[in-house]
Amino acid sequence: MTEPLIYEISTPGRVGVTLPNVDVPEAGMPENLIRDDLPLPELAEIDVVRHFVRLSQLNYGVDTGFYPLGSCTMKYNPKVNEDAARLTGFAFAHPLQDPEASQGSLALMYFLQEWLKEVGGFKGVSLQPAAGAHGELTGILIIRAYHLSRGDAKRTKILIPDSAHGTNPASTTMSGLEVIEIPSDERGNIDLEELKKHCGPEIAGLMLTNPNTLGLFEEQVQEVIDLIHSCGGLVYGDGANMNALLGVVRPGDLGIDVLHYNLHKTFSTPHGGGGPGSGPVGVLDHLVDFLPGPIVDVLEDEKEEQPPLYGLICPEKSIGRVKSFHGHFGMMVRAYTYMRIQGKQGMRAIADHAVLNANYLRVRLRDVYKVPFDRICMHEFVMEGHWPEAPDVHALDIAKRLMDYGFHPPTNYFPLIVPEALMIEPTETESKATLDAFAEALLKIAEEAKAEPALLQEAPHATPIGRLDEVRAARQLVLCCRPLELDSAAD
């Protein structure tokens, strides 16, 4: 089943909207600045609706089924969040309207800042970053600015474990700093001896993902953090895996100096087929002045009958704004709604059930799939999708075959330090029944791999389209509706 492109169903003369007539005298136009042709499609409203509904039916989302994509925290997205974000006073507020006329939005942002500070153990939070990677860039720029403010200009290197997500090194390079990769040891922790070798006066900091991308809590986390601090560096926490820590431990209490949250992972805002996300950054006391501005603060305390007055302030030594306006406010409304419903009691329950679900699946699968670091994991675990008895079946084949069983595959080939990695993160919103069905499917697939490998190698069989030719896509670039002439690349 394929759906034609929007341009292919266009019919000259067809119209999708009605608009009012001009009710003022028409003004002259600067003819040299007016376009001749506007090559947009021509469709009726029903054509547009059916086209996009049919496209949606070619997709798989959390609302379709189990989506255990490791490191992505594909938990259920509560529907009330969507309604809240669309309330008129939120969705139709102008970001530059007078703060006194925006007290509802500012109060919401203020409380979200406070709650994020509380669950993370931080002194300050900026809600401005648009996504996790954007939060990383913000955090590394904060670390850089901190050292520079102390006249410590030679700290130009950031240490990053080899198990880190690719955004960590990329964010570091963008900040103008240099990456040094640190290997993992045989228990999946950062290699402490290797780390010691690099500590010194040129180290700006360490980027730490904890739980790491193997789903393991760093067993020597305190030593790692103390080591970095003792050489004058700061520790950046990648909060992608915060779901495992809610109410369990606060990164700030561990001494992590700056951390980004992913509202679209931990706090249930939807992933939207790739975004938008939201990546607030939390910092300890010594970094509060460097946060990107503006942030929300109380300008006048609550008085009898009078609520407090909220306003926007810019921290004293701010690295500057990282985004237009105030960040992804719509995502903040969703996260606020979620945190408010969960409340104090909900935080720990989220972590407990996320960790339980991951361990349950690990235990159910470990006899058939090799789990290279087989100890109690946090919210996710990594296993190998490969057997000596089925040498031509790979993790990718298992992933594709899972689609035939109606599941979204786990993350594959990440982290890079595990061969044929399948990284499974069930999240707390999945029931035992769902986990059992998923485990059964994986066990069945393991049998198929040995008995009938072609079934996996040619999978998926039950999807709208089969495996796609990625080599052709990259060699013969077709990036928009008209084909690009390859020879034009030579000019």
Binding site: A107, G275, I319
Partner: protein, 447 residues
């Protein structure tokens, strides 16, 4: 417990299977002195209670539905056909992740391919990525593209002063560790011709806005040619809604076109999320940041779509990637694609022309008022600057008494434009509302 389906007996059964008796035993690796903090958060509450609380908070805001809005300055109140949100609420779209598994993500992938196509057509460019966070961060990524194109050998960036102040600030934030010289935005009276004089052989990128922050529309052909003659890249920050009637920047020879897509079917939502548009020439495609969808076929020859040219990106090239961007604005890009599809060839043009005519009528009417005058010289689109007899904040306070949301106070960003107000007029404004504004302003002039 909200959104957690486990029953007590299932919980016990699962804990037993894992080999522990209690949840606490799962956290042995965590230092005991900081384990299980007592969080100072509100008590859990029901959906019913929380929604009531949120409704009250939302009602503590002013909004553009209950006022007449003349505030723009980078966020605009345009009509959003109902179709757009109905599609965005399709669960299969909004609860999906990035389309890493193309066999079950063709909906997102094809929609992004169509978004890319629509953006190319609208801006007059050859390739588009699948979105950046917003217009400001897209501009910062354009600067980085130029730096990489010149292999960091050219370090001067020229930004016109009439690029949105937030976008200029974001460029400076992003590039603070790169040792750049950023010039050209010291004075809002520096026009495209004077920018030409600042271009030299160290210039990597020249960027202007179209229509500019003060509403003007300029022909940038000469500036673009001068930039390219010096070996620099030429970038236009465009308002995509205005491109419904204005000549596309591709016709000025732009190397990169960026812009904020909020005006294409996305509510202002107190400033975000919107979508950052990024289009360029094919020869720069491998230097471009962000995801890209390409067409291909499956094993049976059926047309399908995949993420392509991924080795540019952070998950493969890590510290050598074109950018760190991972999550983008997929759903907002979808909103823009649905908006452009339903507005279509004639609808977008008509909406843009409505805004143009209404803005010119409003400018003309206000210009006749005592104490007020139209500051802009030359062509403008749907925003213009009014020189005012009093501080803008005072005028806006007066307008609010009539439920009118007044324009933007330009003195905040341009000291030379103290007591100047930037007024935006979109297709949502009626003649009657313009007359109400004129009457209210007239009172201010007479006070």
């Amino acid at each position: 417990m909200a959104y957690i389906p486990h029953t007590e007996s299932e919980r016990q059964e699962m804990l037993a299977e894992v080999g522990v008796k209690h949840f606490d035993e799962l956290y042995g690796a965590i230092p005991a002195d900081v384990r299980f903090p007592d969080l100072d958060l509100p008590e859990a509450a029901s959906e019913m209670e929380v929604f009531a609380e949120l409704t009250a908070l939302s009602e503590a805001n002013l909004d553009v539905i209950h006022t007449t809005n003349f505030l723009g300055a980078g966020a605009y109140h345009h009509y959003i056909p109902s179709v757009v949100d109905h599609i965005l609420r399709r669960n299969e779209f909004y609860t999906a992740y990035t389309p890493y598994q193309p066999e079950i993500s063709q909906g997102t992938l094809q929609a992004m391919f169509e978004y890319q196509s629509l953006m190319c057509q609208l801006t007059g460019m050859e390739v588009s990525n699948a979105s950046h966070y917003d217009g400001a961060t897209a501009l910062a990524e354009a600067v980085i593209l130029a730096l990489n194109q010149h292999r960091m050998k050219r370090k001067k960036v020229l930004l016109s002063a009439t690029i949105h102040p937030h976008a200029r600030e974001v460029v400076r934030t992003y590039t603070q560790g790169m040792g750049l010289e950023i010039k050209g935005d010291e004075d809002c009276n520096v026009g495209p011709d004077q920018l030409i004089d600042l271009i030299d052989e160290t210039t990597t990128l020249v960027a202007v806005q179209y229509p500019d922050f003060l509403g003007h529309i300029h022909d940038y052909t000469a500036l673009g040619a001068a930039a390219q003659a010096a070996g620099a890249l030429f970038c236009v920050v465009a308002n995509p809604f205005a491109l419904g009637m204005l000549k596309p920047p591709g016709e000025f020879g732009a190397d990169v076109v960026v812009g904020d897509g909020q005006s294409l079917g996305i509510p202002m939502s107190f400033g975000g999320p919107s979508v950052g548009i990024f289009t360029t020439k094919e020869k720069y495609v491998r230097k471009m940041a962000g995801r890209l969808v390409g067409e291909t076929v499956d094993k049976d020859g059926k047309r399908g779509f995949v993420l392509t040219l991924t080795p540019r990106e952070q998950h493969i090239r890590r510290d050598k990637a074109t950018s760190n961007i991972c999550t983008n604005q997929g759903l907002m890009a979808l909103a823009s694609a649905v908006y452009l599809s339903v507005m279509g060839k004639t609808g977008l043009r008509k909406a843009a022309e409505l805004a143009y005519h209404k803005a010119h009528y409003a400018a003309e009417r206000i210009d006749t008022l005592e104490g007020f005058s139209l500051w802009n010289e030359g062509a403008f689109f749907h925003e213009f600057v009014i020189s005012c007899p009093k501080p803008v904040s005072e005028i806006n306070a007066h307008l609010l008494e009539y439920d009118i949301l007044g324009g933007y106070d330009l003195g905040q960003d341009y000291p030379e434009l103290k007591d100047h107000m930037l007024i935006a007029v979109t297709e949502m404004i009626t003649q009657e509302e313009i007359e109400d504004l004129v009457l209210a302003l007239e009172e201010v002039g007479h006070d």
